[in-house]
Structure formats: structure tokens, C-alpha cells
């Protein structure tokens, strides 16, 4: 009798009621579903490379090919300044965090619609889906980061102690893609226009970030401040600084962090509010 009572104590009670208003993210629940997030991430990674002949080599080729194109167009033809660094290295150092962000954003924004069959049949915290696509993008990042280290070794550029700051910038890049991804994925459930818009958004965003040109191109002061509202400015600048030295991140980084936090918190609330309707309208 005692044991049954003990067992009964563990039985969770779930209440079903109409959803009301704005809810914060339930971190406890998210933690309980960590294994699902793990398996969804694992599925994304597995499936992405399963039928590609070159498999994981794409994670190496992609940044290298982009770097080559940028070097020819911007480095050689347009003779863009590169903070005194070899242009290929200058571009690649920015491309690596950029591609982490762009891949994560692109995949997460269509992730809810792509998993409609799960959403309409099974309950789990919906944020697990965009979250897992972002984690999956980290794998590509790790591989291409090794490529970056190789290119750095080729140019005999060695990072200093600033590299210890790198995780901060990686995290900031992920949080940016999560923040925007939450907004866009939730909007895409109702308005499929979003998924047509995202490629353009990413393209414009890339040129609005100091990837092919150095941040000095933007006049310091007021315009630089406006420019830094793009959180990827802080991420990319920080990345270059942590690995290659050069311009130290300043107030721009603080602006970037504030913008990301605003986007992220509002994104979480918006996502939570819309989450209840996903199954009905997806």
C-alpha cells in the first residue's frame, strides 16, 4: 500500500485549459525534453549528410569556396582594405561566424513548417524544433572552424589570449540566430511569405555586416552606432579581434548585445504565445 502511494506521488497532473496571454519560457519543461532536443539535432545532422556524396566535406568546401569568390571580387578586383591582413584570411574569419548564423537562421525559420507532422500529432515544447536546428548548425561550424585554423596556420597568424573571448562571440551569434529564428519560424507558420523572404533577408544582412569590408569603412560616431544595431556587427568584429587582433570591440558590442537580448526576449514571448496555435494552423 505504501509503495503504491509513493508511486502515485510521482504521477504528474496535467491541466487542460484555454491558453491565456503571454507566458514566459518554461525552462524546467525544456530540460525534461532535453533528450528530444538531442535526437532532433542528431536527426538533422544525420539526414543532412546522409545522401550527399561528399558528405561532411561540404562543411569544409562551402566557406573555402565563398572565401575564394570574395577574395577574387572584393580583394583582387575591388581592392577592398582588409585591416592589413591577407584578404582571404580577413574574409574567412568573418565568414565562419556568419555562416553559423545564416545556416541556423535559414533552417530554424522553416523548421516548424518542415516538422508539421510532429507538431500536429505530438506534444512537446515547440521551441525544441528551432533550437535543435540551431544546435545542428554548430556541427558545421566546428568543422569549418578547423578549416579556419588551417588557413591561419597557412598565413602564419597565431591568435593571442584574446581567443578566450571567442566562446562569447559564438554564443552571441547563436543567440542572434535563435532570436530572429523564433520570430520568423513562428510567423512562417501563419504567413508562408516568410520562407520566401528569408534568403533575401540573409543576403541583405550579409552586406550589412562587416564581412567583405572592414568596419572602419563605416564612419565612426552616429552612423557607426546605427550600423551596430545589427548584432552581427558585434559578433564579426569580435571574432576578428579574438583571432587576428586589430580593432578592439567597443560600444558597438554593447549595442549588439542589447539588441540581441531585446529580440530574444520578445521572440521567446511571441513564440510562446503563438505556440498554442501552431497545431491548428500549420
Amino acid at each position: 500500500m505504501e509503495s503504491t502511494q509513493q508511486k502515485n506521488h510521482q504521477i504528474p497532473v496535467i491541466y487542460l485549459k484555454p491558453s491565456t496571454g503571454w507566458l514566459p519560457l518554461d525552462f524546467g519543461e525544456l530540460w525534461r525534453y532535453r533528450e528530444l532536443i538531442f535526437f532532433l539535432t542528431w536527426r538533422d545532422i544525420k539526414v543532412r549528410y546522409k545522401q550527399a556524396v561528399l558528405g561532411i566535406a561540404w562543411a569544409v568546401l562551402q566557406p573555402l569556396l565563398t572565401m575564394a569568390i570574395f577574395t577574387i571580387i572584393f580583394g583582387v578586383l575591388l581592392n577592398t582594405p582588409s585591416q592589413g591582413l591577407p584578404y582571404p584570411l580577413f574574409a574567412l574569419t568573418a565568414l565562419i561566424p556568419w555562416q553559423l548564423f545564416a545556416t541556423a537562421l535559414q533552417r530554424s525559420s522553416i523548421s516548424l513548417v518542415g516538422n508539421a507532422n510532429l507538431i500536429t500529432k505530438i506534444y512537446f515544447p515547440r521551441i525544441a524544433i528551432p533550437l535543435s536546428t540551431i544546435f545542428a548548425a554548430l556541427i558545421d561550424f566546428v568543422i569549418s572552424f578547423v578549416v579556419l585554423l588551417g588557413v591561419m596556420a597557412f598565413y602564419r597568424v597565431w591568435p593571442g589570449l584574446m581567443i578566450l573571448w571567442l566562446p562569447l562571440f559564438i554564443l552571441l551569434s547563436l543567440l542572434t540566430s535563435l532570436a530572429v529564428g523564433l520570430w520568423l519560424s513562428a510567423l512562417n507558420v501563419q504567413y508562408r511569405d516568410i520562407q520566401h523572404m528569408v534568403p533575401f533577408l540573409i543576403q541583405v544582412w550579409m552586406y550589412a555586416s562587416p564581412i567583405v569590408y572592414p568596419i572602419e569603412t563605416i564612419p565612426a560616431g552616429f552612423w557607426r552606432g546605427i550600423y551596430s544595431l545589427n548584432p552581427m556587427v558585434g559578433v564579426i568584429q569580435g571574432f576578428r579581434w579574438a583571432l587576428l587582433g586589430g580593432t578592439r570591440p567597443d560600444i558597438t558590442l554593447v549595442i549588439s548585445i542589447i539588441v540581441v537580448l531585446i529580440l530574444l526576449i520578445s521572440g521567446l514571448y511571441y513564440f510562446r504565445r503563438m505556440e498554442k496555435t501552431f497545431a491548428d494552423i500549420v
Binding site: 504528474p12 487542460l16 485549459k17 504567413y191 491548428d280
Partner: protein, 426 residues
């Protein structure tokens, strides 16, 4: 500690018409609608005012309790609200109104294979699907061999499931889902697919789950499965509970809500392909004395029940049987076409061909009510060729039967005309 597992109180769910079926709105729609709304704000003309989209109630004021360990059936036509109800119970969607309480972890067996990925191997899909259905990793590790064994995919376990036959795919998907161990299991139409043998296996597993004392909500169009697995059933119609009662009565109520064929039950030959069965049932009919197929017979004049069937090859010792049951599931009688020793001698072997076994039910035997007919074809102690426990239901009317001068309901399934004598002894 409440003794119920699920309590649902006046739950309603409203959908916008079209929203569930049509493509979601685009931004263009949003912009044009808003523009129209703004334009109409400035117009006085009431007729031209923007009309809000209309709604439908997929569920309306649904209330019920499910006791711990109960296996409850839910039947209803397409669109009656069954799936919406399960979606609310599994928290996939929220109710628009009302309140519910669920005590225990909920597992869903909805459309097997949800979350399967064709590119992944059987092994990988077991883990992925298990996680999606709410199993812990160590739980899957522990049950892995059992799952593989149940699925019978054996050595193909490391092959991508896109190379699986549909049968293997289904077996694997069901095997994962069947090894869930939640306190409450929601089952939706999982038996709608797969061959007969697979369905038998699934039903067996479902039975085990029920026996283990877990609470099960079973939604199906398969009435014989519902009858087999559940004691009590809810009938949904147009989003409302129209009946809750013992399963045979509820099923009967559902079958009588229209749509279903009255007085006769036909079997399609396709239902029996695959198995090398020499006995193919064609039709079970209830006939009045004029030879017309009817849903309602009169006890006072008797009636006939006949089973038409094809024998693909000769069967020796074949007996075709009828089981008469009340809708509550009590047997009234069992009778075989070769019960009579003379018939038994004549039909020691039945050659291939088309047959009708007809049984005459004498006048003044049955009481009023709905009855369920089961049929069976077998060779005693050798082989059972066919069985359908709930093949057909029909109504008996007692107008003119003995004792109807008193318009009261008589107890018991039979109302035989018996010989009475009245003696005055003092």
C-alpha cells in the same frame, strides 16, 4: 488521490472555417483584410461592413471522466470530433473553452510512424521515434531488443527505412509505439492499416496494455476492435457526446446513426486476400417471412437468418454457426447448420461452390430489442475458417407477441410462447 485518470469538463474547441484545410493566410491576405477593415470603418453602410470569418465548433461542451485503468472506446463518424478530442487530451492543441485534468503521463499512438525519417536506418528511427513519443534513452536501450523482435524486421535493422516494405515499416513503427509505458495511452486509428495478421498482433498488444491496468482511450472506426478491447464507449456526433454506455450498446447506437447498411452485411473478397482461406463469406442477411431483407423483424411471425458464402475448395466437417447476442454482450444462443445428426451425416464433406446456410428462427421466441449476430465457420477441432463476432445487428419488434396486452418491458432476451395451464384445485 482521485480515482480518475482523465476528467474533462465542458471542453469546447472552435476552429475557423477553412483554417484547418486551406493554405494558411499569406501576408497579402492580411494586408488586404486590414485595408478593407480600415476602409469600412469610414463607411456607414452596415451591409458592406467586413464580416468576421465564421467558425465551427469541432467539440462542444464535452464532459466525461475516465477511471484509472479503464479502457474507453470513442466512436463517431469522420468529423465528429474524435481526433480533436485526442489532440486536446494529448495537449497538441488547447481547448477554446472548458477545463480538463489528466493524472499521469500521456502517450499517444497516433498514426504509427509519426516522426520516422526515411533516410535513417531502422535502428536510428527506433531511437528517434522513441524520443519523440516520450521515451527516455535508457528506456529505449533497455527495450531495444524487444522492439526489434516484435517488429520482425530482424537483419534489416540497419537499413534505411525507405527501403522497407510498407509492412515492415508499419511493424517497426508500431513496435516502438507499443513499447511505450505511459499511465494513459491514447490510440487513434492505428489499426486502420496493415494486413490481417499484423492487426491481430496489434490488437493482442493493445489487450496486454489494457490488462496491465493502464488507462486507454481507444478511437477507431473498427467496431469489432472496439468491441473486443473496450467495455465502455463514448459516441461522438457533431462535436457532442450523444451517448456513453456499454460498448455493444454504444456501437449499436453508432451503427444506427445512419450510413450503415441495414439488415445485411456484405464482405468484400479483398478483405480475405493473402491468407489461403477456402471459406469466403459473401453476405449475412436477416429476412422476414416474405423473403425481404429487413432491419426489423416481428417476433410474432418468425424470421430467417442466412449466410451466403463461397467454398474455394471442398471442406470436410464444415459447420457454419450463428451466435445470437444482446447488445449488452450476453449470449442468447449458439446454433450450427449441421447440429441435426441427419444434416451432419449428409454434409460430411461440402464440395467447392456457392452456398447459403439458412436458419429459421421460430415465431414467438425472441424478446424485443436490438440483437447482435455473430457468425463462424469451422471444422470441429481442426480449423476455424472464419469468424465475425459482431457481423450484424437487427431489431426485434414484439407487436402481437405473447403478453403484449400489458405494455410493459419484459426482462430477458427471449420471450417464448410457452404452454401454460391453469387449474383450479380448490
Amino acid at each position: 488521490m482521485p480515482d480518475f485518470a482523465i476528467r474533462v469538463d465542458n471542453i469546447s474547441k472552435r476552429y475557423q472555417i477553412g483554417l484547418t484545410h486551406e493554405r494558411p493566410d499569406t501576408l497579402r491576405d492580411l494586408i488586404t483584410t486590414k485595408a478593407r477593415q480600415i476602409r469600412y470603418l469610414f463607411k456607414r453602410d452596415q451591409k458592406a461592413r467586413y464580416k468576421a470569418p465564421s467558425h465551427i465548433w469541432a467539440l462542444k461542451d464535452v464532459s466525461f471522466n475516465v477511471e484509472r485503468g479503464q479502457v474507453l472506446g470513442i466512436v463517431g463518424r469522420n468529423g465528429a470530433g474524435k481526433s480533436t478530442l485526442l489532440k486536446i487530451l494529448s495537449r497538441v492543441t488547447d481547448p477554446t473553452e472548458g477545463f480538463g485534468e489528466i493524472h499521469g503521463r500521456v502517450g499517444s499512438l497516433l498514426e504509427v510512424g509519426t516522426g520516422f525519417h526515411p533516410e535513417l536506418s531502422g535502428r536510428e528511427n527506433i531511437y528517434l521515434n522513441g524520443a519523440i513519443l516520450g521515451m527516455r534513452r535508457e528506456e529505449i536501450d533497455r527495450k531495444f531488443d524487444e522492439i526489434v523482435e516484435f517488429s520482425e524486421v530482424g537483419k534489416f535493422i540497419d537499413t534505411p527505412v525507405k527501403h522497407f516494405s510498407s509492412g515492415m515499416y508499419l511493424r517497426l513503427a508500431f513496435a516502438v509505439a507499443a513499447h511505450l509505458e505511459p499511465e494513459i495511452l491514447l490510440v487513434d486509428e492505428v489499426l486502420a492499416v496493415g494486413d490481417a495478421e499484423f492487426q491481430r498482433k496489434c490488437l493482442g498488444k493493445m489487450n496486454d496494455v489494457a490488462q496491465a491496468g493502464r488507462t486507454v482511450l481507444f478511437v477507431s472506426h473498427n467496431m469489432s476492435a472496439t468491441l473486443r478491447l473496450t467495455q465502455e464507449t463514448i459516441v461522438l456526433d457533431q462535436g457532442r457526446i450523444v451517448m456513453r454506455g456499454p460498448t455493444p450498446e454504444a456501437v449499436d447506437h453508432y451503427l444506427n446513426m445512419g450510413l450503415t447498411k441495414q439488415g445485411a452485411r456484405y464482405w468484400e473478397p479483398e478483405e480475405f486476400t493473402g491468407a489461403m482461406n477456402p471459406f469466403l463469406p459473401v453476405c449475412l442477411r436477416v429476412l422476414n417471412p416474405q423473403g425481404k431483407v429487413v432491419d426489423t423483424v416481428h417476433a410474432a411471425e418468425g424470421f430467417a437468418i442466412e449466410l451466403e458464402y463461397n467454398l474455394i475448395e471442398a471442406i470436410s466437417g464444415l459447420r457454419v454457426g450463428l451466435y445470437m447476442m444482446t447488445t449488452r454482450g450476453e449470449f442468447v444462443f449458439t446454433s450450427f447448420d449441421t447440429d441435426d445428426p441427419e444434416m451432419f451425416e449428409t454434409f460430411t464433406e461440402r464440395p467447392a461452390g456457392r452456398y447459403i446456410s439458412r436458419c429459421l428462427i421460430p415465431a414467438n421466441l425472441m424478446n424485443e430489442g436490438r440483437f447482435v449476430l455473430g457468425v463462424n465457420a469451422s471444422s470441429y477441432r481442426i480449423k476455424r475458417f472464419f469468424q465475425d463476432d459482431k457481423a450484424l445487428t437487427f431489431t426485434v419488434d414484439v407487436t402481437g407477441a405473447p403478453g403484449t396486452q400489458w405494455p410493459e418491458k419484459r426482462l430477458g432476451p427471449v420471450r417464448p410462447k410457452l404452454d401454460w395451464t391453469i387449474e383450479k384445485i380448490e
